[in-house]
């Protein structure tokens, strides 16, 4: 096995795990992505992280109803769009277009957002109740 292919293996686990060197590429501007799946996994996991963070914040902030959900969707899609188009400057056509990149992991992140939101609301009420 050549050293290049060995490095490829080391940087990217099969089927979704993301290793250290992949994360360092993820936070460097204009990184080179040899494997499409590697970049898609980064998009997926960034989306999950955003979902958890927003879920917790939305639980504390008074953002209720479908407005809160709509704002989550816009922020989730918007932040990742800025990430892959401006920060990483990738060619969207290589990945099947902007829509493919936008929907990568979206439903899972939405479910995670709702779970985080429900837990966060409950925790916040509990802490408020205990304080009083």
């Amino acid at each position: 096995m050549t050293s290049i292919s060995k490095r490829k293996e080391e940087s990217h686990l099969v089927n979704g795990g993301v290793k250290q060197s992949t994360w360092s590429k993820a936070f460097s501007s204009n990184a080179v992505w040899e494997e499409k799946d590697e970049f898609l996994d980064v998009i997926y996991w960034l989306r999950q992280i955003i979902a958890i963070i927003l879920g917790v914040i939305w639980g504390v902030a008074p953002l209720k109803g479908f407005l809160g959900i709509a704002i989550f969707c816009i922020i989730n899609a918007g932040v990742l769009y800025v990430y892959f188009s401006s920060f990483q400057q990738i060619d969207e056509e290589e990945y099947g277009g902007t829509w493919e990149l936008t929907k990568e992991g979206f439903m899972t992140s939405f479910a995670l957002f709702l779970v985080g939101l429900v837990m966060s609301i409950k925790m916040y009420k509990l802490l408020k109740y205990n304080k009083n």
Partner: protein
């Protein structure tokens, strides 16, 4: 809060099904070999379909059809290997769901910060009394946990199928994305 934690714990404990799958199936050499073969063939087929043009020769198209057939056979073999674990998971799931339904029947496990759409209310307000549709039932939260926590655990542990394999498998259920090029 207890109900909420119980629901999440129920979801995590039902992942014991995945643990059984790992012991019975995922550890075996036959499964690993078949999975690697399916991944390799899916990626190869996807690359070939991307480079094929409208004016591609008959031989090229026949080659791709042969590869698709080979991939279909390997997918079928992989499904057969998984069948053992599917029965075990099905049994676990049925037993666990019966137990959790009796524990959480009529209990509000959480409050939603929004009123779900009418066709989702049947699920989110299942077996709950009253007209307050922000009350969340166990089954709705369980489904959300399955969609989020379980999916992410599978992906983290490398148990989820690759995108290429999912795309090709989806093609066998419906028209494949490149079908139009061969008509």
């Amino acid at each position: 809060m207890q109900s909420l934690l119980d629901t999440v714990a129920a979801e995590i404990s039902s992942d014991s099904g995945k643990g059984i799958t790992w012991v019975l199936v995922y550890r075996t050499e036959k499964y690993k070999r078949l999975k690697a073969e399916v991944e390799k063939q899916s990626k190869k087929l996807e690359k070939k379909k991307e480079t094929i043009t409208e004016s591609a020769g008959r031989q090229q198209k026949k080659k791709i059809e042969r590869q698709e057939e080979k991939l279909k056979n390997n997918n079928r073999d992989l499904s057969m290997v998984r069948m053992k674990s599917m029965f075990a998971i099905g049994f676990c799931f049925t037993a666990l769901m019966g137990m959790f339904n009796s524990i959480f029947d009529g209990r509000v496990v959480a409050k939603l910060p929004f009123v779900p759409l009418s066709y989702i209310q049947g699920l989110s307000h299942r077996n709950l009394l009253g007209e307050d549709y922000t009350d969340c039932s166990f089954i709705f939260l369980y489904i959300l946990c399955t969609m989020s926590i379980r999916q992410n655990i599978q992906k983290m542990l490398g148990l989820a199928p690759s995108r290429a394999a999912t795309k090709q498998a989806g093609g066998f259920l419906g028209p494949p994305p490149q079908a139009a090029k061969f008509s």
